[in-house]
Amino acid sequence: MSTATAAQPVAMTSQTDGKVLEVRDISKSFGGVHAVRGVTFDVREGEILGLIGPNGSGKSTLFNCILGQLTPTSGEVLVSGRSVTGLRPSELNRLGIGRTFQLLQVFPQLTVRENLILAGQEHEGSRLKRLFGPRDAGLTANANRMIDFFRLGHLSDEKAGGLSYGQQKLLDCAMAFMAGPRLVLLDEPAGGVNLTMLGNLKERLQAINKATGATFVVIEHNMEFVMSLCTRIIVLAEGKIIAEGPPDTIRKNPEVIEAYLGH
């Protein structure tokens, strides 16, 4: 695990029938507001699962429950068959789960390369070793590879805060992949990204998926992006799953059109 990089796919255990993530009856209430109500689904190894639904349907809350940012009111989350409910986000990350946030989350005062090194350093050796080891935690080559892969090569030494929105969005994504995660949850990766960049992003995500077998769960409002990227889609409305299936079936589902697509 500690030496896993984006270039070295990590084999999944076979005892879980290829299920990377199992979400079991997760509910989350804030006072009287039931944001998520008994959601259950599996994510199989290597798939790109889309999570769509109108604003306020509970998508991001669900992500936060899965990733330890929020404690679910009830239910359980299993990663590779192991219960991870109650673990802190940093612990989950070190188990090989990456994520991006809905709003842009890079470190503006660090350079692009330092952002990436930061994203990988906690996976390298022990903490004490890192204090006395090299400044880059031995990750410069890896970071450079990631920078090239996301086509940010001309920006490696720029402070992230000086990048354009689209470039920061790409960096944000690249950071989620830096430690070679097996599972990545992306919250609106295409939000506010221009068309050229969007094509670039989709292509990069598919390339990683192909090269490493990493599994993605993607929240996205851009229907074209979701339908062409994902192999399966789950539709959430008012905290519940109302439809599930391949993109073509979802597109034609009357309930989905009623709740979401029709608007």
Partner: protein, 354 residues
């Protein structure tokens, strides 16, 4: 500035700092060095800078708040002085002062996991007042308001640092250099990067595997230990320990030093401490107006240059570089993930770091 030049300049500055106050007349040179009081002031500047380095780690790098540094100086000062007077070697007293503050710093760090910004400042403020009250009231231990007198300077390798003044100055300068080097190493290490991440975006940091809890406590502990080290050196410098050296307003002063000097800059604490400790000496002619001048300076600095003096200096010496507004980058034929590629940055001229 390139690396070599900064290194040479730094070495030169340290050289002048060490030898400048020395009396060269025995060698036939027309420089009689600094008198006792100016040398004392320089030593006080270094001690203040050590304490401020700790605050800078907590506030400037890790983005937390502390209004308790004077309390840690107090804890360190009394721990060290009381041990030293009972015959414990000074090196042990010094390290114990740091270790005690390290442990207390961890404890004080726990509220930082729950409360942030000015709420955290209030928690540390309360701690500062608490420690001051203990020092003032526990007369059997600290002498209370009667103060702890005759705090002796150590004897190092058979040489008493009691006088001349420059001996203790050299000793403190050596300790300062060592502590500064350790701090420099720390903030340049991956830990330093994690501290910065903590400051800029703790939620994102946590999602990248950074143990925000652990790093927060570590920053608090190390920063507080620097307060303890400074305290251990302060007692022998002044020769007497008075509770009012560790009163709340002193804690505010350390915060002010860091902010005025340049919070988050390595040299910030040294510059800030110079403003707070040495400037009053130079502004002696202004007498009572000094505080007004100082207050005005801080107000102007914060209003126009919130990055402090070092930040202002950096802005003046480096030209602003803006990245290309090109959103697209190369669109075709990007390297694949599996194959190693040419080092990034070879295509850009923007790679030069200051």
């Amino acid at each position: 500035m390139n690396r070599k030049l900064s290194f040479s300049l730094g070495a030169l500055a340290i050289f002048i700092m060490l030898l400048g106050p020395m009396d060269f007349t025995p060698f036939g040179l027309p420089w009689s060095g600094l008198k006792t009081y100016p040398t004392y002031a320089l030593t006080l500047w270094l001690v203040t800078a050590i304490a401020a380095m700790g605050v800078n780690l907590i506030v400037g790098y890790a983005g937390l708040e502390t209004l308790a540094q004077a309390a840690f100086l107090g804890i360190g000062a009394y721990t060290s002085a009381l041990m030293h007077r009972n015959g414990v070697p000074f090196a042990v007293c010094f390290l114990t002062a740091g270790a005690v503050c390290f442990l207390v710093g961890i404890v004080l760090g726990f509220p930082a996991l729950r409360v942030q910004k000015h709420y955290l400042a209030f928690v540390t403020l309360a701690f500062s007042v608490f420690v001051w009250l203990v020092i003032r009231n526990e007369e059997w231990l600290t002498g209370g308001t009667e103060s702890l007198k005759n705090v002796r300077r150590p004897v190092i390798f058979g040489i008493s640092l009691q006088r001349p003044e420059i001996y203790y100055y050299w000793f403190v300068a050596g300790v300062t250099l060592l502590l500064a080097f350790l701090m420099w190493w720390l903030i340049r290490s991956p830990w330093g990067r994690a501290f910065t991440a903590l400051r800029e975006n703790p939620i994102r940091a946590e999602s990248l595997g950074i143990d925000v809890r652990g790093y927060t406590l570590t920053a608090f502990a190390i920063g507080s230990a620097y307060g303890g080290f400074a305290g251990s050196l302060l007692g022998p410098l002044i020769g007497i320990l008075d509770p009012n050296s560790f009163v709340l307003s002193k804690s505010l002063e350390y915060m002010l030093i860091v902010v005025a000097g340049g919070s988050g800059y390595f040299l910030g604490p040294f510059v800030g401490a110079a403003v707070a400790v040495l400037l009053p000496e130079w502004l002696r002619f202004a007498q009572d107006y000094y505080l007004i001048i100082f207050a005005l300076l801080v107000i102007l600095l914060m209003a126009f240059f919130p990055t402090g003096i070092v930040g202002l200096f950096e802005r003046l010496t480096t030209r602003a570089r803006r990245p290309h507004a090109d959103d697209k980058g190369p669109t075709l034929g990007g390297p694949s993930l599996g194959t190693p590629s040419t080092p990034a940055g070879s295509t850009t001229v923007a790679g030069a770091k200051t």
